[in-house]
Amino acid sequence: MAEITITVDGVQITVPDTMNVVDAARLAAIQIPVFCYHPRLPAVGMCRMCMVAIGTPRLDRDTRQPVLDEHGKPMIQMLPKLQPACTTRVSEGMVVITKSDEVKFAQNGVLEFLLTSHPLDCPVCDKGGECPLQNLTMEWGPSTSRFDYSDKVHFEKPYKLGDLINLDRERCILCSRCVRFQDDLADDPVLGFDQRGRKWHIISKSDPPFDSKFSGNTTDICPVGALTTSDFRFRARAWELTAVPSLCNHCAVGCNTTLDMRHNQLQRVMPRENAAVNDIWICDKGRFGHRFIERENRLTTPLVRRDGQLQPATWDEALDVIATNFRAIQATDGGAALAGLAGEHLANEDLFLFQRLFREVLGSNNLDTRIGAPGEYALDDVGYQYGVGVGTNLMKLGKGTAVLVFGADPEEEAPLYMLRLRQIVTQGGSLIVANPRPTKLDRSATQTLRYRPDSERDVLLALLKLVSAETKQIPQRTTGAAELKGTLEQTKLDVVAKLSGLEQAALEQAAQTILAAEHLLIVYGADVLVHGASLSALLANLLILRGKVGLVNSGLIPLLARGNSRGALDMGVRPDKAAGYRPLQQVGLTAREMWPAALAGKLRGMYVMGSDPVASYAPAQAALDALAFLVVQDTTLTATAQLADVVLPGMTVAEYDATYTNAERRVQRARLARKVDDASKPNWAIVQAIAQAMRGEPVLAGAVSSETTTTITRTVGGNGKGGNGVQGKLTLTTSTASADAAQENWDYMTVAEVAADIADLVPGYAGITHTALAQTAQTKGWGRQANEAYFYDGTSYANAEGVGLQVPSGAELPKATFDLTPPPATKVPASSTYPFALLVQTLAYRNDPFLHDSLLQSHIPAGYIALNTDDAAKLGIAAGAQVQLTSAAGSLRAPARVVADLPTGCVLVPAGLADLPVSTIQTGALTRVAVSRVAE
């Protein structure tokens, strides 16, 4: 990529020669108006708004050298007609004129043309106030229309394109941004155009219509009010909104969002630009799945069980009951009779204090974020140890990068990664997708490997064997090389090929791709996470052998379950390690061990924060019933909370300031957007209050907003979302109290003080304070430049809060060592009683309490059991017939789905559906089942 110099309106700028004229002019702060062009989409040059005069130096016919004028300057010959700036690439010496009368006439003309079709219904249009067509008309358009016919295009007004997105075809200016987004970025080609000419209009004929997990983004990039969400339509005017920086907690991507508030009510969720995380997109779960914040049945006061009934109580009373009971259990059975469960969506500050409470005050290591169901994800330490290096930015990767996606379905597990990985391919990278079943990402892959279930380990060993054969030198600080060598010697490629159903050549090709990569990313998901280190360590071995550990743009990316799953592991909410992965002498009970312990009377008291085991794992109920004392802290009266002795009202991500750590270990901060009842406390403050109560200290009046909060106030009618927009009053609170003192005394005044403690006490988090996080907002080179709201308007918001800071991976710490020792095999032997392998599919839209009350509820499928066509034929099972699955643990029924592309010998069952509790038949990481037809 060469740099060249061009002149735009007399300003000389040096730009990469791959740029188009719009982007180049933007660097000189010169706006060329656009509609169809969008910096993230391929340029098509169809709206003709960006017409400018372009000249290039006249070249001598023979020498091909520029002809010079009498001043020794190259003579510029202007092209005979105006050119579209968006599809014209810059070239050396190019001269661009954007403000001549000719240019103005053309641009004015295009706007006048567009307005001959466009209704002037701005007063009732949701886009009003943040509408590029409005803005450009102000700046470049005619003030009156000469089109004096009542002949605008007419269509039926609101038209449901799907149940999430509405299309107003009259407003559409036919720029095709939405179509290109769906085709090129989302790979859900569900939008198109019907008819032609002026009758041209958007249609969606997928079944269901507009079937895409990314549909909401089209409403952002639509430059008019043609596409609106059912979620926000007619709710508020754009200028009345206060956009509060927040984060989406649904999955491990950690997309940056804003919660757009009015009158303390959430009006909509918008993406907030962060190139390294979500760029300017969010998935529909992030956009539509935040109505849980305002659920009507939110708890507002503590409840205490009196006479068998949960009844409202004061905080003092509730805390007193808790302290009394916990102290009693401590006294009779010791701290080890107490246990804690916490949700992985909770903030670092909540989780840090939670484990402190248990370890320092209650004296227990019985901590977990899981609920003990079989087939749950194991604790993912490998993903921390060999995670992607600090500074990794997927946006920048392309040629030279190889991505191996193993045992993962990014579209369902962490949707935004789907866009990021596709972008890497678009930019020239390689993508190997390895799964036992097809996933949508296969379509974008440069190679797919379809291995048989339970051959994962063999496949990985085969890849390791092929890679190690080409590895001259094992990197330094590596252990276990001999053990690996031993295992690899026993690995025979032809045997693996047979076991896995893969061609040996395919394995070789994949190994070649891995060997050739300058940057090597390995993404793994549910199918690996359930197996824990036994598979992920082998994936890490690929990195170690290739010398790609602890490096920028290389490493593991585990698709953990929730927005702060990594944070929970970092904070040490687990039985075996303290915060920062420090091993413990005395290991506590895992969630799975807690239930029998409770039933056996060994475990007597529990504190469950933001977790609802009863809802998704039935056996938990009896165990919880058997406890002497149960405290549940949550936002609603969950099934688990109904069993509690004390229920404490928790807060959602919208209601307090805190930090979260995503899959790539990026710590990011969400802000207080919605004020709740004055008596309410952030989750961390409740934990602290319990600690204080236990210590017999006065309860801290832990007000919600003990810290000054930041909001971004948008300026009305202008480009409030631009980088030059009002940054809001950014008041930063730093902890004055020393961390040690706070730690000793449990007297954190603000969440920033807790964060400061985390920075001091959790290895890797050093320096990650709220102040430092906020400073990342000033990082140069991020996102949009000054004065270009026109470019992105209506799109995602500029990022004024900060883009987060990455915690180093274990491999990046000084003196880190790398272990090649292959973990032992954990095969589940095939059995004739249970001949089928059960594949469990994580769905994005599942029975998740966070999706309740959202429009997505109707997107959750009814349960089904998918079978291969041949298997179904053999068993005499027709599509739709009732099928029973039986495992050693239990049985389950659902209608059959008969599909062609599922490998034989497996059944696929979606997880997390209310009518199909798959955990009841799971026996572990891999479950073997029998399949039978249920007689009518």
């Binding site: 040059g45 017409m51 007609k81 105006l82 599809t87 003309g109 001959t116 036919l174 032609r196 002026r198």
Partner: protein, 445 residues
Amino acid sequence: MALTEHVIMRELDVPNIADFNVYLQHDGYVAYRKALTEMKPNEIVQIVSDAGLRGRGGAGFPTGRKWSFLPRGVYPRYLLCNCDESEPGTFNNHQIIDLNPHQLIEGVALSAFAIEAETAYIYCRGEFATAVRTLEHAIEQAYAAGFLGKNIFGTGVNIDLYVHRGAGAYICGEETALMESLEGKIGQPRNKPPFPAVEGLYRKPTIINNVETLANVPPIVRRGVDWYRSYGTPQSPGTKVFSLSGHVKRPGNYELPFGVPLRELIYSPEYGGGMQADRPVKIIIPGGASAPWLTDKHLDTPLDYESVAAAGSMLGSGAVMVLNDTVSAPHLAYKMDEFFKHESCGKCTPCREGTHWLVKVLHRFAEEGHGRAEDIPVLHSIYRQMQGNCFCLLGESAVMPIKSALALFPEEFEAYVARAASNGKGHNGKNGHAQVQPVIALQQR
């Protein structure tokens, strides 16, 4: 001056040349056999260049030059023969297929060999259902005779030829839209660059030529450059099949050497035979709907690319429409722009909205029979807002009728305005035909 022998319309010299056997007996596939067995692809490109063959599809671009833009060593390549023929006034491609199909097939196959393409498609507009059947039948014959398929004449050369039928869209004649359509998409033009020669059908190097262009290739290769250049002018060598239509006595296709004056085409008893009812010529559109108009003043313009351009128009596809004094200029502009509006694909704003607006205003003049003073500057403005700003040449072409009408017959627009002012809205003329006679009578020409 009639040609003693025809280059394209050989059915006039050899009856029933559409019959494969007749074609074979009259030097059919001789050039093709010679090329494949004795010549290198390059040599054919050279001959076609030397002959000065220019594309008959509209732009008159030198065919040999176009072929030489193919990037070296990139395969597969495709040859597309453009038989979308949808522009008002053009109808010679259809006739070539009806009356001399094997010459086209030979031309396509020979040109495919010249550009080293192993697959060629003839893209016919969807309405040409009969022509498609004729072609498919003739192609079957060529396959049966071993002229198409694998290892032709034992030379190892493979050439497959298929007919692909469009489905009703003028824009698919535009080369990039044609490729989109052939790929099974809606026919909308692509951005250029990349040009088709570099990245065309299925993103492979592709050459697109008109039916008449390719039908010229076998005679050129068989008879040689000098023979070919003995017809026409130095810059526009050879002959052209002119499609003559409108108010002439004998509309039809006439093959003439380039350079014959318009007057001869229209008035010679062998060709147009003069104007119906001997009315005067009013408007001549010499190159299809997208050509600027000429008038009776230009009757002596020689019909070659340079002379027609010098007269302010373009030879385009060689479709010569001649209209007499009963036709009102605003109405003709209205009808023409109605065509362009109907065919606008919708991709770019100026064409999509501009043609609509033009038709809207012109309707007031031509169909409602009146106009408003402020409409005239609006018409000027609309076409200026379109001109040079459209994505493809369809939109640019739509400018020509209205621009011509305003430039050549401003008084007709003014007459409509004047009449509207004098008697309210004016009469309710229809069709711009005889009913608008009074307006036209105003301008004694």
